[in-house]
Symmetry: C2
């Protein structure tokens, strides 16, 4: 599979790249960002942490706003930031909402036409992108973590629960933890998966942890001034599910922080240390 280099910039003695490749799962070209720390450039097989972004984002937001490369360089972590959905599918309504369609793939495989022809981010992230990465980049693919923000926090939690072997460490910023119970998730799941709610449970972190908790300690940061806290995020639902099932969870309510990348930047160091400790331990 061919890989096209869009840009490469030296950053903290490592290399921040943006790449594009043809995706079968997503029915067209997909972009991702990948940061290689200096250790990787020197030939070391480094652990890999994937960051999944939130609604409206592309691979760029995390890459330019989170300030993550500094700690990745210090800790010797490779960072992968995929796009958040297929693009330019020509589906009616694809670009009409900020919370459905373009920029809102919700890290699932759609089963409903016309979305099912392209909106298959789960297959993309679990099968297709890993094949591309392993073909073109050197890393220790046996040590990987996953993290994300908001919709991407939902993606990180659910993909971890469903792929514990691949992604051994997990963390999230202001994640959607109970999509079946909140408007963002209900809209997305109805559109992508249809009305049968039993099919939704495979993409709901609260349902998945109740089915089978993971051994990994989950780190979640949540700002108390986040506008979406009470309606869309509801971390207390996940906290309760973890308590009920013995799932190790470190949920930190961060006073006065909102839903922005200023919040992510403030705590990205803690998250990368969390992954490095788990993956190198």
């Amino acid at each position: 599979m061919a890989l096209e280099t869009i840009a490469e910039n030296r950053c903290f003695d490592g290399l921040q790249g943006v790449y594009r490749h043809e995706s079968e799962a997503c029915n067209g070209p997909m972009r991702f960002a990948l940061y290689r720390p200096p250790q990787a450039l020197a030939g070391e097989a480094c652990p890999v942490v994937t960051f999944l972004s939130g609604l409206t984002c592309t691979e760029e937001n995390f890459t330019v706003k989170a300030g993550a490369q500094r700690m990745a360089a210090e800790l010797g972590l490779i960072l992968v930031a995929p796009d958040t959905s297929p693009r330019n599918q020509g589906i009616a309504g694809e670009d009409d909402s900020y919370d459905f369609g373009s920029g809102a793939g919700f890290y699932l495989d759609a089963t409903q036409a016309p979305w099912s022809k392209a909106y298959r981010m789960e297959s993309y992230l679990t099968r297709e992108l890993p094949a591309v990465l392993e073909e073109y980049f050197q890393a220790d693919w046996s040590r990987q973590g996953i993290m994300g923000h908001s919709m991407g926090g939902h993606g990180a939690l659910t993909l971890h629960f469903k792929n514990r072997e691949r992604w051994q460490s997990v963390s999230a910023f202001a994640p959607i933890v109970a999509p079946m119970q909140v408007p963002w998730g209900q809209k997305a799941f109805t559109g992508y998966l249809g009305d049968d709610r039993s099919t939704w449970e495979a993409y709901d972190a609260c349902a998945l942890v109740r089915e089978k908790p993971s051994r990994a300690e989950i780190l979640i940061d949540q700002g108390t001034a986040d506008n979406f806290l009470n309606e869309q995020l509801r971390p207390e639902l996940f906290e309760q599910a973890c308590r009920d099932t013995g799932q190790p969870l470190k949920l930190r309510m961060q006073e006065g922080y909102d839903h922005s990348y200023f919040f992510i930047a403030s705590f990205i160091e803690d998250h990368l240390r969390h992954h490095a400790t788990a993956l190198r331990g």
Copy 2:
């Protein structure tokens, strides 16, 4: 003078704000970003460092891409990031070039019509903005530094030489050091100042240092893979002028780095430490 708050976000236990006010010098509303570290929120009178951005930028680029708040919070520095030009003046051709007009104010006072009615960034930065800042924010205004990138590096160097009392410390990333001798500067100065090159010298760092060097040690970082290095930036001209005049200069050529914010982010910590040391010393 009224100050409008556009946004305020908690960041590294401080507060990142974006504000707008009416400007007489720039003939309309102007925006700036200002970060207050936790020490300032707790009532300490903190030193202030102003960052001037490069061509095409607004107050946003540095604020979201440089990762500067982390070190500002650690060092107790207030950060100010002004816009790079007046906006929406309705002047013919104002938005036609990336290197002249909107986003390209060059930190000078234009003398040529029609630009002279609004393109007066020097007056804005030396008189008008300071008055607004001192009215609305608590700080130690006797301890200030100035820094910038590319066109903003030109602004930082020239404004320091012309206002040594106000801005005691200075640094730059990939600055335009000899605008009279490079295409970007020649185009801007011709348009804003006219054909009489004797009027240009007040805005040329190489000319200003030869007129009177400053006691401050100047820190400059320059990437060796910067596409603009040989045609527009030419740090060797400033290095020679500093050597000839005894101006203290630390010029660091950074191997493989380009002109992007990934370069700035990689070295912003060193620059903020440079300012903190000079201002607190």
